[in-house]
């Protein structure tokens, strides 16, 4: 099972994402300028400032050649995980519902937070228990998930909210404490917390590994060994 981790010129977390994936399976970097996904089984769009994000977070990155491939992969049911800036890119690309707005505090916030697993039956959380709390850090300036009321209602009704900030832990003013949402089909998932920075107890928590392990297990079930 092989993860592909997208690398934009301004990615910051791609190396950590690669390392995290390697703890669960094999992994390779996918250069933003190359079309095609080189046969990977799952794609991670990591955090960072893809193209500097000077216009609007994620706005420019979604048009890169690799993202065209990621979009087709997603439309065919491929597993795509977007973390932080990657989440923003997937929203901008219309692969996930809603948008990520500047934090209510207007400031960058870096904090270890608890998130609650709302859905443990997804490709991204099957190694977790429902209702379980995971300790994963956030770090962003624009992480306030928002969607117009009708879309937000659909997302809730469809059970697309996979992770919520634990009560009192919402770091950015996100609507309904949403920390991570999946697509209606469930194969694309984006979250603001950084599971790739929570893979070693020495650096505060290894809870993030469960997401990568979930993807591996899910893909292993789909892809004959």
């Amino acid at each position: 099972m092989r993860f592909g981790v997208v690398r934009f010129p301004g990615s910051c977390d791609e190396v950590d994402a690669l390392t995290a994936c390697e703890r669960a399976g094999e992994a390779t970097l996918l250069w933003h300028g190359d079309a095609g996904l080189r046969g990977v089984d799952a794609v991670v769009v990591p955090g960072g400032f893809s193209y500097g994000d000077y216009l609007r977070v994620g706005a420019i990155a979604r048009f890169s050649p690799v993202m065209e491939s990621v979009a087709s992969f997603a439309r065919e049911g491929g597993i795509v995980l977007g973390i932080c800036n990657g989440f923003q890119v997937l929203c901008e690309a219309g692969l996930l519902p809603g948008a990520l707005l500047p934090n209510a505090s207007r400031r960058f916030v870096c904090r270890q937070v608890d998130v609650v697993v709302e859905r443990a039956d997804t490709a991204f959380t099957r190694a977790c228990a429902p209702g379980e709390r995971l300790s994963i850090p956030v770090k962003h300036t624009a992480g306030r998930w928002w969607a117009p009321p009708e879309i937000a209602a659909e997302v809730e009704a469809g059970g697309q909210v996979v992770l919520r900030y634990a009560p009192g832990e919402n770091p950015n003013g996100s609507l309904a404490d949403v920390a991570g949402v999946a697509s209606a089909e469930g194969n694309v998932f984006g979250l603001m917390p950084h599971p790739e920075h929570a893979v070693d107890p020495l650096t505060a928590s290894a809870d993030g590994l469960r997401l990568f392990a979930s993807i591996r297990d899910h893909v292993a079930g789909l892809v004959p060994a």
Partner: protein, 77 residues
């Protein structure tokens, strides 16, 4: 042709930057200010102004959360 695109947060969406400005102004002695919103201004030379709408929809604004307005040189504000 020189063009301006004004992008602003959609009504009803919390605009923390606008609020911060609204709070800061009275503290500096500027009273009588309300309803402050902060958005983006994009100015550019464009050969074919007819394509500006498309540029806004695809890149310059996110229509889910932002409204935009195109002002061409000579238009009223």
């Amino acid at each position: 042709m020189r063009a301006r695109v004004l992008v602003r947060p959609k009504a009803g969406i919390l605009d923390p930057q606008g609020q911060a400005v609204e709070r800061a102004l009275p503290a500096l002695g500027f009273d009588g200010v309300a309803n402050v919103h902060v958005g983006r201004l994009i100015e550019l030379d464009v050969e074919d102004p007819d394509r500006l709408g498309e540029m806004c929809e695809r890149l310059l604004a996110n229509p889910l959360i932002e409204d935009y307005e195109i002002v061409l040189d000579g238009d009223p504000a």
